[in-house]
């Protein structure tokens, strides 16, 4: 086999998915990154600085918590990987810490990012403050409205938040604007993409930086269950960075069931959904050939999810390959079920999850896991940013 799940080809392909479909204006930037990322990440000095920041700044390793009351309810052993306890409240910072160190070594002085729910924007603004770098975050106008606290957080951290006004004014359009910024600033700027999407090498780079999640899981599982390998790993997927990190060190372990949970919105066939693995077909978005929601003319369609972090019309090429090959099972969860899962985790375990993460929790009943099975849910983020939404839907939740 020419590719493994962990390692794309030299040109960035996972099976038929991946590649770098970018205009010439981006070629030198992306090529510079491609030629250097693996070498830089292998440098002992880089690793030392990265590991130190993960430990002392991010707060890693994050706990693996056995959720006993949730386990009782679903009659299986549920563990929660507490990425919500990372500094800034989600797994996103694992990636931004790594990429800002990379950007420094590439001699870049200006950082741009896109954000949907605002978690990646906050995580980027945070590391830019830490390193004293200029930071510009593109965010869809609609997302700025539904994730206001994160907009304020980014500004407090010294970042400039620019509204993406085109298209659906959400994550896809914020990404378009960030790419256009990079085209306009080809020399001094590094683009910190927040998910395992975009042109090669981004999907691989971000997956490697998030892989610390599953690396820790294996050690913690050995300690708590006597085996490094669980029966199930469950994670939500928008672009798919937390899922890539949670799956990474289990990709080549066929006994581990990988479960990716997408947002069904109002229902997969309602016309208001973000379930890309069901609704998408191969196409090109943001420089990557992947599964993509599009009409028959190849125009990209607008996804919908109540959660701002999951309404992306594509998925990372690794996930497209996992779906296509059957290595991962894809489940889609509607808005309402996700909201109910928010209440359930809050009441049973005293943990208020992010709305994105709640989609993964809502899939617990569909796994078919038995009483002796070990299920790890990647608790990718905390729910503080979503309180306004939770208040609005209090009737559903409470």
């Amino acid at each position: 086999m020419s590719t493994t799940y962990q390692q794309p080809t030299e040109r960035g392909y996972y099976g038929q998915f991946g590649g770098a479909f970018i205009p010439e204006m981006l070629y030198p930037n992306v090529e510079e990154l491609r030629q250097n990322y693996l070498d830089i990440m292998a440098e002992p000095a880089f690793q030392e600085e990265y590991q130190q920041l993960l430990r002392d700044y991010v707060g890693r390793p994050t706990p693996l918590f056995e959720a006993k009351r949730l386990s009782e309810k679903y009659n299986t052993r549920v563990f929660l990987k507490r990425e919500d306890l990372c500094h800034t409240g989600a797994h996103k910072v694992n990636n931004t810490v790594g990429q800002i160190l990379l950007a420094k070594r590439l001699g870049k002085t200006r950082i741009i990012a896109e954000t949907g729910a605002g978690q990646h924007g906050v995580a980027t603004a945070t590391v830019c403050a830490l390193m004293g770098m200029q930071c510009i975050v593109y965010m869809g106008e609609i997302d700025m409205e539904r994730q206001k606290p994160n907009v304020y957080r980014m500004r407090l951290l010294g970042a400039e938040v620019r509204a993406a006004m085109s298209g659906s004014r959400t994550l896809k359009d914020a990404t378009n604007e960030a790419i256009r910024d990079w085209i306009s600033n080809p020399v001094d700027t590094h683009y910190i993409i927040g998910s395992v999407v975009g042109p090669h090498p981004y999907p691989d780079l971000v997956a490697r930086l998030q892989a610390v999640i599953s690396e820790e899981m294996r050690k913690q599982l050995l300690e708590k269950t006597g085996s490094e390998l669980p029966n199930y790993v469950v994670a939500c997927v928008g672009g798919g960075s937390n899922a890539a990190g949670a799956f990474y060190h289990f990709l080549e372990e066929p006994s581990v069931n990988l479960v990716a949970v997408e947002a069904a919105g109002h229902g997969v066939n309602s016309g208001h959904s973000a379930a890309t693995s069901v609704l998408g077909k191969p196409g090109i978005i943001h420089g990557s050939r992947t599964l993509l929601m599009q009409d028959e003319d190849g125009q990209i369609t607008e996804p919908y999810s109540l959660s701002a972090g999951l309404d992306y019309p594509g998925i990372g090429p690794l996930h497209a390959y996992l779906a296509d090959s059957g290595r991962a099972r894809f489940i889609s969860i509607e808005d309402e079920a996700a909201l109910r899962a928010v209440a359930e985790l809050s009441r049973l375990e005293g943990i208020i999850p992010a709305l994105e993460t709640a989609h993964a929790l809502a899939a617990l009943g569909q796994l078919g896991a038995g009483p002796d099975d070990v299920v790890v849910v990647n608790l990718s983020g905390r729910g503080d940013k979503d309180l306004e939404t939770y208040l609005k839907y209090a009737d559903t939740i409470l």
Binding site: I22, E24, M25, G283, G298, Q299
Partner: protein, 259 residues
């Protein structure tokens, strides 16, 4: 010799390539605009195939694409509009410019065959990488006698420019500076000149057209000092916004550049 090469050989310098978005400002404006643009003195015509997410384009072309899509423009409609275009405009080279995904979904072979049947001479797909073109598209392009046009930017390395120059018999699309289409040129004067002179000194096989940020007589003439001609897109689209008679507006605009 293809129509693109003939156009360059005939005129040699000061060639004007006009871009417009198919289906803008109205769905049926495509053919009347081609006729008007050609009659007004443009030497090449670049027809934009609208895409929902045009990454290399600025707000003007993105907006015209959004309108065109809402008007009902798609690949099938475009090719049916272009069916008899060579009876109307015999010699002016026609290029299609767009993004890879709609072409992929239409089917590369279908796309090339329809384009060739319509009398299209060249294709510009900015997000089609060189390696992928060579590996997967070149054979089909050649079969249908279509020339690819590739972009070159100030950051494109010399050996890559040489490679691009070998891959086509049309022209090289020199992006004037950093930015998307329709932007202002913010570079220091000398920086841009040095870039154009560096390319000129390479003695490439293909002629060069400068694009991005060219929008009036002054910027057109300045570009023509450094290349065989220039490409205007966003400024024309702006001139078509909200007008009753798009072909007349296009004619007036082109006259203002060439007079």
């Amino acid at each position: 010799m293809n129509r693109i090469q003939q156009a360059f050989q005939k005129k040699g310098k000061d060639l004007l390539n006009i871009y417009f978005t198919a289906g803008y400002p109205t769905l049926d404006a495509t053919v009347p605009l081609i006729k008007a643009i050609s009659a007004a003195g443009a030497d090449l015509i670049e027809i934009g195939m609208p895409f929902s997410d045009p990454l290399a384009d600025g707000p003007v072309i993105q907006q015209s694409s959004t309108v065109a899509l809402a008007n009902g423009m798609n690949m099938r409609v475009l090719f049916s509009q272009l069916k008899n275009i060579r009876q109307e405009v015999a010699e002016t080279p026609i290029l299609l410019m767009g993004y890879l995904n709609p072409v992929m979904q239409f089917g590369v072979e279908n796309f090339c065959r329809e384009a060739a049947n319509a009398g299209v001479d060249g294709v510009i797909l900015p997000d089609l990488p060189l390696d992928d073109y060579v590996a997967e598209y070149q054979e089909t392009f050649r079969k249908y006698n279509l020339r690819p046009v590739f972009l070159i930017t100030p950051q494109t390395a010399p050996e890559r420019i040489r490679r691009i120059d070998e891959l086509t018999d049309s022209f090289l699309y020199l992006v004037s500076g950093p930015g998307t289409t329709g932007g202002q040129n913010t570079q220091a004067e000398g920086v841009q000149e040095a870039y154009f002179q560096r390319i000129e000194a390479m003695n490439l096989r293909n002629p060069r057209l400068i694009g991005f940020g060219i929008g009036d007589k002054a910027s057109f003439q300045k570009a023509c000092q450094h290349a065989e001609g220039a490409i205007i897109g966003s400024a024309l689209i702006r001139a078509l916004e909200g007008v009753e008679d798009a072909p007349a507006a296009a004619t007036r605009f082109i006259s203002s550049v060439l007079k």
